[in-house]
């Protein structure tokens, strides 16, 4: 179908599922997908650019945006806010661009409350064994951190029921193809095209 409006594609999943790699490959292959840019109150690091890595704003402005319901989701991490501004997402969608939002599960479920039209995709590891070996494989964490990360990944997977689609990241190209198919299929949904169809026929 030729629906002219873009989609909001929310990709999340537990740590170790590999959502970051998948999203990077997806963006590389699909120039019509823009990545959602977050807003934060933390200071830019060396090399970070406003509007590319983040929209950098101050705390006052961020809290005003919260009060005006301008975020699809936001969170406070230690002393800094991070959030997904609605305006950027909606503007892109109106211009026919799909928007990819890679986000943790808590954030995704916030988005779901505010934006039911989005497509929610959960990235699963192929197995628990593989999940554990990926978390261990990072090699940067203590045994207790690994156990903690693994435990929370396992409990996060139970949230999959709140998502529309589950994609297993056994092989990255296959997982990317699955997401591309999901996007194509969603654009064929009658509910996304009904007005256009009625106006043509």
């Amino acid at each position: 179908m030729g629906s002219n409006k873009g989609l909001l594609i929310v990709v999340s999943g537990p740590s170790g599922a590999g959502k970051g790699t998948i999203c990077k490959e997806l963006l590389k292959n699909n120039s019509k997908i823009n990545v959602s840019v977050s807003t934060t109150t933390r200071l830019p690091r060396v090399g970070e650019k406003d509007g590319i890595n983040y929209f950098f704003i101050n705390k006052n402005k961020f809290e005003n945006m919260i009060n005006n319901d301008e975020f699809l989701e936001y969170a406070k991490v230690y002393d800094n806010y991070y959030g997904t501004p609605k305006e950027y997402v909606i503007e892109n969608m109106e211009n026919g661009k799909d928007v990819l939002l890679e986000i943790d599960i808590v954030g995704a479920l916030q988005v779901k409350e505010r934006f039911k039209d989005a497509v929610f995709i959960f990235i699963l590891p192929p197995s628990l064994e593989e999940l554990k070996s990926r978390i261990v494989g990072r090699g940067t964490e203590s045994v207790s951190d690994i156990e903690k990360r693994y435990g929370s990944a396992v409990s996060e997977i139970k949230q999959v029921i709140k998502y529309d689609y589950a994609v297993v990241n056994d092989d990255v190209p296959t997982a990317v193809e699955d997401i591309e198919s999901i996007i194509k299929a969603e654009k064929c949904k009658v509910l996304r095209n009904y007005e256009e169809i009625l106006s043509k026929f």
Copy 2:
């Protein structure tokens, strides 16, 4: 996702939309899709084979099958019955084969009442002008038959709201790709895989 059960894919649409051509191409490219074989009480024509073109049975047996609720849909056309037997579809699905059912809109809506898990795809012509020229292009019908066929196609298109997906047949390979994406996406649906996911994690 690796759901082992096949899907029932119901493809329908108005006369002139080109669903026959699309289904033929889809089957050519996808050996994992089997076409649903109908049951009929009409006599086999020369060259037709039982179990390939149709399952040929007598009227008594057909009516028994109706009474035993063994059809996904059926219809009586003049003096003959035609129907889609549940058993063939379900057996294939249990064996991991997707089953394609190309059917008119009345039949598709009967299937929907009995088999909510199926995927319902509506094939649309690119425009009313193109629909008309395709119907005229057959060159086998009188002006009044053409008008009648066109009129009923237009009113059939209003039924699209009862389908899950709408695929525009502007270009056959693109329409086939859309259907392939829909099948892939449906297999990633959390609701089709939830038990399997819970059993693994």
